[in-house]
């Protein structure tokens, strides 16, 4: 069964169509890049998968279920913005994740935080932008989820942080889980992906493995993407 499946999914905001009749299947065990220019519908798709938005038509299913309380148990979501209350410290956040998510692996999170010298007493408010992004990612990746939905995890961070984030994603890879990474910074994530979905103006127009693209076009996914989106 597909871990994430959209069929004829459409979402409109007023007069603008953010997603237009999207059908897509993502199987377990893959790291998938959801690639497209800004405003192409990537964030909308991930919000729909989390039940943060309701589709106008069509459906989106996680492990066969429409987004609901049950799917939230198996989906680990990193939004594209700072979303943790800034007055909370790391320990309170670990408590929160442990309280609500039965698949949260606290020792693993602690190990990763320790490596970065982020103390449990540190408040979100006191963290630099990069540290905050890393802390958020650690919390999200420390769950043993079936589906990770990461919205722009490397947007606007320095190269060292970017490497750390990609490394963390590979380190936590699990053959039964899938990871969807939305980004417009393709060159940075390309080696980590084994599948890519190109999305533009709310439509999916390509879903292939990275190796297929390289084999067929003789170009990297990044080069291919630039070519496709030149106009």
């Amino acid at each position: 069964m597909a871990i994430l499946e959209c069929s004829m999914l459409t979402k409109r905001f007023g007069s603008t169509t953010a997603l237009d009749d999207v059908s897509l299947r993502i199987e377990p065990g893959h790291i998938v890049g959801l690639l497209g220019p800004n405003g192409s519908g990537k964030t909308t798709m991930l919000k729909l998968a989390n039940g943060l938005l309701t589709p106008n038509s069509g459906e989106i299913r996680i492990a066969g279920m429409e987004p609901c309380r049950e799917t939230r148990r198996i989906v680990s979501y990193l939004p594209d913005r700072p979303y943790l209350a800034d007055w909370m410290n790391v320990r309170q956040l670990l408590d929160l994740f442990e309280d609500f998510y039965t698949d949260f692996d606290r020792p693993r999170a602690l190990e990763m935080l320790e490596k970065l010298h982020i103390s449990e007493e540190m408040r979100i408010r006191e963290m630099s932008k990069g540290t905050r992004e890393k802390a958020q990612l650690i919390l999200v990746m420390s769950r043993r989820a079936k589906l990770y939905l990461l919205d722009e995890p490397i947007g606007g961070v320095d190269p060292a942080t970017r490497d750390y984030i990609l490394e963390t994603i590979i380190r936590n890879y699990n053959p039964e889980a899938s990871v969807v990474i939305s980004t417009h910074l393709i060159a940075d994530v390309e080696p980590v992906l084994d599948e890519v979905v190109f999305i533009s103006n709310g439509r999916v127009f390509l879903h292939k493995t990275t190796d297929e693209i390289r084999e067929e076009s003789g170009k990297s996914v990044d080069q291919y993407f630039r070519e496709v989106f030149r106009c």
Binding site: G14, G51, L52, R72, L84, A85, F100
Partner: protein, 279 residues
């Protein structure tokens, strides 16, 4: 899961409410001391007398501020925690929308209750101290007064009516508070379904709900109160009958509040479930 949400909610609100209430209590003690000092003429130094007066004034501000903070916390927890960026976390927890709304509502009610009790107590304390400096005498007098009133109530057979009246009053106040919270929640949930002008639209919805409900409750109350004849009120044969009539009026109010609360609750949950549109 509701228990866990409540724990989070108390943690988030307690860090503000506890210091505020603590400060109010400290201020009440200071105000009592300086107040009795002023009355007893402890000092003639103008500066000190001015400062002592200022403490009284500050206490007055503090009481109002504590009330305002409680209301602001009620509104801002819903707004910031559910409708702003923190909503990305809250709405992806494995909890239902019902649980989210109840956790906000219950915690807001608890703080309204606690703040109410604290304000009542500190005002009482200050009143006692300022009216009589000798607390022991006062207590003795108060208890003898109370005994007198009590015996009167019992002798006139008012006890049952009183009990009914207070029960109706308590339920009515509680539901009124629930309605106030849900009024804000529903208005914000509606306003935030839209892509733009979310706050402005929230205010518009708040006003619209107010108008709709005032029309509804007026007709409902008219229906209820029309059963109560003017004579029952103005020419009540006894205190007991008067209180019974008042209780009936309160129950009618409670009923209309119950209808309002139900409508507002359903509207809030529906908007958050189907119309959530986080920025």
């Amino acid at each position: 899961m509701l228990g866990k949400l409540l724990k989070q909610e108390f943690r988030a609100t307690g860090r503000i409410m506890l210091p505020v209430l603590g400060a109010l209590i400290v201020l009440a003690f200071l105000a009592s001391l300086s107040g009795s000092g002023l009355i007893n003429g402890v000092t003639d130094v103008p500066v000190l007398r001015f400062l002592m007066g200022m403490i009284e004034f500050l206490f007055g501000i503090g009481v109002v501020a504590a009330g305002v903070v409680t209301v602001v916390i009620m509104i801002s927890r819903f707004y910031r925690n559910l409708l702003q960026d923190e909503g990305y976390l809250m709405f992806t927890l494995p909890v239902s929308v019902h649980e989210l709304v109840w956790s906000k509502l219950i915690v807001a009610l608890v703080w309204f209750l606690v703040t109410g009790i604290v304000i009542f107590l500190v005002m009482g304390l200050l009143g006692l101290v300022l009216s009589r400096t000798n607390l022991v005498d006062l207590m003795a007098e108060f208890s003898s007064d109370w005994e007198e009133i009590w015996s009167q109530i019992v002798s006139e057979g008012l006890l049952a009516s009183f009990r009914k009246f207070f029960l109706a009053g308590a339920v009515c106040t509680l539901l009124g508070t629930v309605c106030t919270c849900l009024h804000f929640y529903a208005a914000m949930a509606m306003g935030h379904m839209f892509n733009k002008h979310k706050i402005l639209l929230s205010i518009v919805f708040f006003v619209l709900i107010s108008i709709a409900f005032s029309l509804m409750t007026t007709s409902l109350n008219m229906a209820g109160f029309s059963q109560i004849s003017e004579n029952e009120f103005l020419y009540a044969e006894s205190m007991a009958l008067l209180f019974n009539t008042l209780s009936r009026m309160l129950w009618w109010l409670t009923l209309s509040e119950l209808v309002q609360a139900a409508v507002l609750y359903l509207a809030t949950v529906l908007c958050l479930k189907r119309g959530l549109n986080l920025a």
